[in-house]
């Protein structure tokens, strides 16, 4: 499923809303998650999962093609941990 299909499904279930509104709703939700992570905050959605940001130290990497050493600077990466209920649903227990 891609974003437009998600919007379509929600719009079909809510005929009183314009598709445009549903698009704005989905985008507002995603933007909240992104901007929270950009601030370094956590996002916890019970039953679904939690997003957080993890720091990666600077390290010396290698270009796998040439074998040359390259300095990789410190960076932050987004991380998602699946919630308990979601984990159970994936395995047909809920």
């Amino acid at each position: 499923m891609i974003k437009s299909e998600l919007v379509q499904k929600i719009a079909d279930a809510n005929p009183h809303l314009y598709q445009r509104d549903v698009e704005n709703i989905v985008n507002a939700i995603l933007e909240q998650v992104v901007s929270a992570l950009a601030r370094g905050d956590r996002v916890e959605l019970r039953g679904f999962g939690a997003f957080s940001v993890k720091k990666r130290e600077a390290r010396t990497g290698r270009n796998p093609r040439t074998g040359k050493q390259v300095d990789v600077s410190e960076k932050a990466v987004p991380y998602f941990k699946t919630g308990k209920e979601m984990r159970e649903r994936l395995n047909g227990q809920a």
Partner: protein, 105 residues
């Protein structure tokens, strides 16, 4: 790290502020969006949200684990897990950059 935790309530507030529906309806729609995504994943399908990232369901085979406390071997049954692959736009935003170009590891 900053320490604040964003929850459903914050997502509802954002929808309320930006879309102009009632608070109750905003909350219902946030829930509808999350459960639509969850249903799709539970059925084993990938969910791709452009400029955000994608959620992919992966099958894990059976393996032998160990109880870290007792050292006892325990079989871990085959199971399904979901992983989140952030888009490069998301990765760049988190590192204080804008746009979707740049390292894509």
């Amino acid at each position: 790290m900053a320490g604040k935790t964003v929850t459903r309530a914050d997502l509802c507030e954002a929808v309320y502020q930006q879309v102009g529906l009632s608070r109750t309806e905003s909350a219902q729609l946030v829930e509808a969006v999350l459960s639509e995504i969850a249903d799709c994943l539970a059925s084993g399908e990938t969910v791709k949200l452009s400029s955000f990232g994608s959620f992919v369901v992966r099958e894990k085979g059976q393996r032998v684990g160990r109880n870290p406390k007792t050292g006892e071997e325990v079989p871990i049954a085959p199971r399904r897990v979901m992983v989140f692959k952030p888009s490069s736009i998301l990765k760049n935003r988190i590192n204080g950059r804008t746009g979707g170009e740049g390292d894509d590891d």
